[in-house]
Amino acid sequence: MGLLSFVTWSPLIGAVLLALLPREPVRGVRRAALVFSLIPFVASLVMLARFQTGVADFQMVERLAWIPSWGIGYELGIDGISLFLVVLTTFLVPIVMLNAWGDVHKHVKEYFAFMLVLETGMIGALLALDLFLFYVFWEVMLVPMYFLIGLWGGEQRVYATMKFVLFTMAGSLLMLVAILYGAWQVKVATGAFGFSYEAFAALQLPLREQLLLFAAFGLAFAIKVPLFPLHTWLPDAHTQAPTGGSVILAGVMLKMGTYGFLRFAMPLFPAAVAEATPWIVWLSAIGIVYGALVATVQPDMKRLVAYSSVSHLGFVMLGMFALTPTAVAGSVYQMLNHGLSTGGLFLMVGMVYERRHTRKIADYGGLWAVVPRYAAVFLVVMFASAGLPGLNGFIGEFLVLVGTFPVHPWATAVATSGVILGALYLLWMYQRVIFGPVTHEENRKLTDLSPREVVVIAPVIAMCVFMGVYPRPFLERMQPSIDRVIARVQAASAAQAPPTVVADAAGETR
């Protein structure tokens, strides 16, 4: 088994082993789950160490025939775009596992098992180089998340989880048709069905077909992102999900959408990108401001963080479609940042929810006096999310805005106001929760962070700071692959223009 396969499948193997363990004692189950989630993390660090900087192409590729008569293969590979997203996934899962020691008390074994299955789905989707395989992983992700929300979620969990699944499926099923259509086009071109990334990349489709395929893929990804106005499932899913579910949903699953654009929709159907860009850029800009405005008025902390995701993911989309090296790098960087800081925010909200069983901002106030350690940690995470210089969020947003401005000045201007609004709603929430006098007597009895909780949040904080002051090791690994995508898209849009000119010239000479 190759390294990438090991990273992909070791969580699933862990889940199976976990399912075979006895239900009691719960402590044993928890420890086993943590160990099972650390194995893929360590493996992904090995992968990180083996990754060759400066190489644009896929590395550590594994290929096996799977369904040969359709040209479907088991193909995995990693490049600068997926590298850190995989590591982010394996990094967040142990954190979520450890965090769940405090807030998951029913069906503990199942919770951890679903989380590990989910991890396999996410990593597989990030590594798959065959579109059939990608689609399988893409769909497999849904099932454990459906259970995580539906079994461990809040009051409205059934509604939220069904909405989540139906929205996501609506997009992904059309993507399935698009994948089939693409494979058929491969057959038309080469004589045999083919689902590999390379076979799709080699297709030369006319603009109209590229547009349709881009739309089908794009819809699936845009729902996942979620791009305004397809975001309505997200606040419900987030609010109802248990803390771990929210962290993974925000931390990794939303990135599947943006990753999908960058890996599949844009480079595979490059001619369509130019046509779609104005739409997506403006929807992103609207999403940034809209998400921020709606977040501002949320009385519920978790809903506030959920809407802030709509806003933050807008930056990622904006940077991606600017198609300048700086902006795309910023948007990939921002994917990681959002995973860390929003994941961190959900963890912080979850920790206080465990103690008080309410997420209403109005139910808190003056926590600094009661739980200073909590307040201090919350402050750092909040600043990371707001994009304070010196922390990771700043680098990402800065690169996106700088890289986008020359191409889409007006949209950038609108987006920049989102940065200000972002600071506004986060600071305002922080102020209402942490500062001032203690308004509710119950809050006086709150306990500060336990050592376990410190262990949970410390790696997140450490990474936020590290990525804020030293982005180079990340950027230099990403950049070659990003440049390759940009070059491919731009070559296609350049190729789109000349043929008409040539045709005209030919027509005149005749």
Binding site: V140, L176, V177, W184
Partner: protein, 486 residues
């Protein structure tokens, strides 16, 4: 023996798969007679052995090289027929297995029951082999009569009697249509043999009489596989019949009827493809959509599965509409996949049932997933498979069907199919919601030990994943089977 007779029975081995099943039925009856109706398990074992021999015979015949035709080519034991023989035998074997405890708990006569299932199976296998419209008709009747009786076996239950009546009356109508259609074909072409019809139609073109034949035959088959608008009987009959019989109808009858349907259309009506693909396309869209939309509203899981089986017939029809080698093989593969996951779903339903209480109500499933983890998990697998989640048989099957449709240029049809899958996700997940996310109100009973049933469930889970994860082998078999048609 006159020369005429000997030429008629030459190639008699073509009928062997069906004869073997018929012999098994008689063996079961005989065993029942000798054992005084006491040894129920023994009867099942006799039946399973017979079905196993039939399947083994079919597999060995698959690799044989002789002329598959027999009885003046009215029967053809080609790979197409053998593929369906194996699927039908599997469906019958699983039905027998899942009936053991059910019959005991409902005090039903085991000997009659098992013999009827096998006789009906014999008709199904004949149908899979039939290369002549008259044989199609006779085997359809053999199959149906058994199922008419089986569906009314719960004599104390009004719903069961109503089911039998309804199925019998409407089934008789359908047979009439089919026979009428056959008569028109005979009138148009002077033969009832499929290859003969193909030759005449290719030579003379498709006249109004043949066209009428196509329409009437489509109505006859449409009733048996429950295509909209001939589906009206399905929910009531499925709901009223004893659950193992429902499962048998949903997979066995459907597979056999589809076998005949595909053979008739793909073999003999090639020349008329322009006409019937249009008709079937409309039927496919209607069937998928009506089945799925109606399934949403059901409170009974059995009725929901009835409507969902209508929808699945619609998906399968998409492959036929594609009218290509890939499309035809996709239908075969899909029916095998559907057999695995649907039998499993019904088996779980039986396992959840308690005598005298409704076992099929959605509310009764509340909290089951946590109380009975094995059943809950298996049902989850079957529901996700029926909804088409990877990596299960349901996904691979739909993938095959829709890719064949796109390959044949029917992109819109594929999109309609996919949107229907989305609708179906809602009600299949509804069952899971009920099992895991709703607190159970019924007093939990300790689950009864039903080893036979558990084997069925286990086998179905394994088959559902096998067909989904490693579809290559079965797909190649389906392709070879379809390629063996004339």
């Amino acid at each position: 023996m006159t020369a005429e007779l000997s030429s008629f029975v030459s190639g008699w081995q073509a009928g062997w798969p069906a004869f073997l099943v018929g012999l098994t039925a008689f063996a079961v009856m005989f065993a029942d007679l000798v054992s005084d109706g006491k040894d129920r398990d023994g009867l099942v074992i006799v039946g399973l052995i017979g079905l196993g021999i039939t399947a083994a015979f079919s597999v060995s015949a698959w690799f044989g090289t002789g002329d598959p035709g027999g009885f003046q080519n009215t029967l053809r034991a080609d790979r197409f027929g053998l593929f369906f023989t194996v699927v039908i035998c599997a469906a019958a074997a699983l039905t027998l297995l899942m009936s053991v405890e059910y019959l005991r708990e409902h005090d039903l006569p085991a000997g009659d029951y098992h013999a009827l299932v096998l006789l009906s199976t014999c008709g199904m296998v004949f149908m899979a082999l039939a290369n002549d419209l008259i044989v199609v008709f006779i085997s359809l009747e053999v199959m149906s009569v058994g199922v008419y009786v089986l569906s009314g076996m719960l004599r104390g239950d009004k719903r069961s009697i109503e089911a039998a009546m309804k199925y019998f009356l409407l089934g008789a109508f359908a047979s009439g249509f089919l026979l009428y259609g056959i008569a028109f074909f005979y009138g148009a072409t002077g033969t009832t043999q499929l290859d003969g019809i193909a030759q005449v139609l290719a030579r003379d073109g498709v006249g109004p009489m043949a066209l009428l034949g196509i329409v009437l035959v489509t109505v006859g088959f449409g009733f048996k596989v429950a295509l909209v608008p001939f589906q009206g009987w399905t929910p009531d009959v499925y709901e009223g019949a004893p659950t193992p019989v429902t499962a048998f109808m949903a997979v066995g009858v459907k597979a056999a009827a589809f076998a005949a349907l595909v053979r008739v259309f793909a073999t003999s009506l090639e020349a008329a493809a322009v006409d019937w693909t249009g008709i079937l396309q409309v039927l496919a869209v209607l069937t998928m959509s009506v089945g799925n939309v109606a399934a949403i509203a059901q409170r009974s899981v059995k009725r929901m599965l009835a409507y969902s089986s209508i929808a699945h017939a619609g998906y399968a029809l998409v492959g036929l509409v594609a009218n290509s080698a890939e499309g035809g093989s996709a239908v075969l593969y899909y029916l095998a996949a559907y057999t695995a996951m649907n039998v499993g779903a019904f088996a779980v339903l039986i396992a959840l049932g308690r005598r005298g209480e409704p076992n099929d109500d959605l509310d009764a499933m509340a909290g089951v997933g946590l109380r009975q983890p094995i059943l809950g998990l298996s049902m989850t697998v079957f529901m996700l498979a029926l909804a088409g989640f990877p990596p299960t048989a349901g996904f691979a099957g739909k993938f095959y069907l829709f890719s064949a449709a796109i390959d044949a240029g029917h992109v819109t049809l594929a999109i309609i199919g996919v949107l229907n899958s989305l609708v179906s996700v809602y009600y299949y997940l509804g069952v899971i919601v009920q099992m895991y996310m709703v607190e159970g109100t019924l007093v939990p009973v300790s689950p009864r030990s039903r080893p036979w049933l558990l084997w069925v469930i286990f086998a179905s889970v394994v088959a559902t994943f096998w067909l989904g994860v490693l579809p290559s082998g079965p797909m190649d078999a389906a392709r070879a089977a379809f390629a063996s048609l004339g």
